[in-house]
Symmetry: C2
Subunit: 138 residues, 2 copies
DNA sequence: ATGAGTGCAAATAGTTTGCAAGCTG
DNA sequence: CAGCTTGCAAACTATTTGCACTCAT
């Protein structure tokens, strides 16, 4: 896990972003969490007074733009972020009731890319999230 | 198109929802539009003074819960709605710059369902949206 | 006639922005 | 020491809620 964070920190530097205590803490919070987290959730997962909520928003946005973390969306539209966990791109299946999350390795990026190129689109990205009710919440 | 709307109206009745001038107008607006629309966009596509913006929000939410229209999400988290167009479930590729939309028939619903059931999840739904830059906006 | 649906006003939630001060490279 | 980052306050946007009135069934 430590290695995971230092790898991310290195990526920060490569992208010309500065490494601060706050940013490191945010990356650590994401690294510890299995499930993708919204900005607010990431913020509350931080040790008290690590940084301001606004900083969490700003850092997450920057990390995402720099390709260091991935962006997802909840069923209700809130943005969530997660690491690729070194296993690269993946998706999630989230319980609508308790928020429990399972990882889903199914991905259609390649297919979408092909279709998109067919329409003349470039810089294609995608969002995919699955939702359901988990066994415990039945 | 006329048929499309009357079919939807029938569905409304089946679900025990009442048919009003406003609701019909909202369904017509969606039927006319190729691309998925947010509540605000749907509202502005309506003839002037058809209804209040709040009503658009409320109707769209109800329609979605009743399974009459489908819910999607933009890259920035805003919710968008669209009809199944009688062709059932489908997805979209949206230009980040101009909003132009192409329909994508690729779908992973079945696969996700299988994976979800494997984890013991029920009532599985999914969101999938692709984004890119369209030929005109290059 | 009864309760679903609507409009208006006001409240919220989540997120973004402006600016002065602080810290990284 | 230049300029990226941060904190605080305030602004904003998209969406939701309360309530009295209206209309579809």
């Amino acid at each position: 896990m430590k290695d995971l964070v230092s790898g991310l920190v290195k990526k920060l530097r490569e992208k010309g972003l500065r490494v601060t205590e706050q940013r490191r803490a945010i990356l650590e919070a994401l690294a510890k969490s299995e499930a993708p987290k919204s900005a607010e959730e990431t913020f509350s997962a931080l040790p008290a007074d690590t940084c301001d909520l606004v900083t969490a928003y700003r850092c997450l946005e920057q990390f995402e733009k720099a390709g260091i973390i991935e962006l997802g969306v909840r069923e209700n539209g809130t943005k969530v972020y997660c690491l690729g966990h070194g296993h690269g791109h993946h998706h999630h299946l989230t319980c609508r009731s308790c928020g429990h999350t399972e990882r889903v390795d199914l991905c259609v990026g390649k297919e979408l890319e092909k279709i998109g190129v067919g329409y003349g689109f470039t810089k294609i990205t995608h969002l995919m999230e699955a939702f359901g009710i988990c066994p415990e919440c039945r």
